[in-house]
Point group: C2
Chain length 333, copies 2
């Protein structure tokens, strides 16, 4: 059923129907007529046709690298919450961590179909730069800093710094680190930098071999920890760039007969659900993922209202969650 048929059924004109669904410059009588007809027929206007006319789709494209990751899921929840309140819907695409797909989707969204884009980013390539420059709809980037675009990100550097400092303050002296690829400026580079600066601020040296680069999964954390532990160097703490990695490291330590935290402390970053259920609960840094999603959505909404505005970067704070895995060593009585 289309608007013309419906108008006839309701006994009013097309325009009246249109007005009913839009501004509403309408007499009470017609309004009632239309309401009754809707009840009877179940008519609803075609969004696509509205789109063609008005040029707004009420759709926001969301590009995510991996849905089954706690942090992404929470960010998307935040995004979804504020956007749906404003009558927007999410067009969700999964890039599966494939940079080519990310670019492809950005391309798809570039001039079409959506009013704006929220991009949960991890790694940027020159291709990204090219397509981001050409976007005709506003874009908000979440999780990474990106010059010239609206960004919402976490304070990865300080988070790592703080977690490492905690362990040093508790008397640790022999640091090890399990990180992720530095192509990821946030989770890779910034967290490593934070770790290193905490060390240098405390006059502690470290060798290259004390730092491992893992993939984003527990299993990889386990293997890298094993490499560290078997190296012969005796570490008294390990900072891991993610909780999954920390959980893996914890497993490795126990297998090697090391007690956590007595023999070796471990901390992660992200404060995922994992941290509370591991054999030894894991100290971690809590990031506000849901809030990041909320802020990103609001930022996008703002760009959608006022036309051009100056790009802003919002950096969210964090909380250090101390748990058993970094509990103070036996106090000197």
């Amino acid at each position: 059923m289309n608007i013309t048929e419906f108008a006839k059924a309701a006994g009013v004109s097309k325009s009246a129907v249109s007005r009913y669904f839009n501004d509403g410059y309408l007499s009470e009588e017609k309004r009632r007529l239309i309401e009754a007809a809707i009840e009877a027929t179940g008519y609803a206007p075609s969004v696509q046709a509205q789109n063609v006319r008005t040029r707004v789709t009420k759709l926001v494209g969301v590009i995510i690298p991996k849905l089954s990751s706690e942090s992404c899921a929470r960010e998307v929840e935040g995004i979804s919450q504020v956007l749906s309140e404003q009558g927007y819907q999410l067009l969700l695409v999964n890039s599966a961590n494939d940079p080519k797909k990310e670019v492809e989707y950005l391309e798809l969204f570039r001039s079409n179909r959506v009013d704006g884009v929220i991009f949960l980013a991890s790694v940027f390539t020159p291709l990204h730069d090219a397509v981001l420059k050409k976007m005709r709809v506003p874009v908000v980037i979440v999780g990474q800093e990106y010059k010239g675009a609206n960004c919402v990100c976490h304070d990865d550097y300080k988070a790592a710094y703080t977690a490492e400092k905690l362990m040093l303050d508790k008397g640790c002296k022999k640091p090890a680190f399990i990180g992720v690829t530095e192509q990821d400026k946030a989770a890779g580079q910034a967290r490593k930098d934070g770790f290193l600066h905490a060390l240098s601020d405390n006059g502690i040296n470290i060798e290259k071999s004390d730092m491992q680069t893992a993939e984003f999964k527990m299993d990889s954390g386990y293997k890298k920890a094993l490499t560290l532990l078997r190296s012969g160097r005796r570490y008294d703490h390990i900072l891991c760039a993610t909780d999954n990695l920390a959980a893996g490291a914890l497993l490795a330590c126990r297998e090697q007969g090391l007690k956590v935290p007595e023999d070796i402390m471990i901390a992660g970053i992200g404060d995922s659900q994992l941290c509370n259920v591991t054999s030894t609960p894991l100290t971690s840094v809590h990031f506000h993922y849901r809030t990041a999603g909320i802020e990103a959505a609001q930022m996008l909404l703002n760009s959608l209202k006022r036309e051009s505005s100056i790009p802003r970067t919002l950096t969210l704070g964090f909380e250090l969650e101390e748990r058993e895995s970094t509990e103070k060593k036996c106090e000197t009585v």
Copy 2:
């Protein structure tokens, strides 16, 4: 830029451009002309306008109760994978477990905007029945059985039966159960039924107070387990309807000084990542969530092709993952 402007720029007619992007009844020469112009201008046809004409949106609505749940996230990943291969995109809405919102979104999708709907369901109300009956686009329901609709679900009954039987076979005699609301036919009722039938098949009796109903979170599992343990009745195993609950129960047991599995065995259902990192790794039933998403998407694709077809229900199998939490008690030497 619209098709008319673009056609002019390319030096061809509107129809030629349209044909280029559709069937392609076109001479090589024009084809090249158009390709060059695309390269130069970056033109892409407006999907909305195409939609109005063709009546297909290449959009599938996906209704989920909670994104930050491992099972949902995996199902959506499966859905996304096959649908995006076929050129469909996901319109994702989060019902936040609110039945009213679910109905609202179904309503929204009923006759509009999307070509089909995939509904990750938990609880059905009469309102659901009403709106589902009125849907004009194909719907696939995931995670629940629903008469008269296409469904993909897990074998909740047998899963619970199998997990319980495992513990009975290992010599357990005093069962306890922590479940979820029976309004949820799958995770609530079917799992409880499976548990109860395993008991009766083995001639074991149980009292009402041995069974608790929790909410879907770890914390709730913890509390309910505490209630059980403090009741004075001495249980030798607990079956939990979800892994989160099992993780909570595990915590409670340890706090009460019970060793798992020596003093008490615990098993969950869902085989989430949790199970591998808990202090005692948790036995659980592995469901094929990702596969469920894939199957649901394919089912929808089928309905989209051939018009009316008979509703089908696909029940996926499972695997019992035995871990330390149900390891055999000290063998009688």
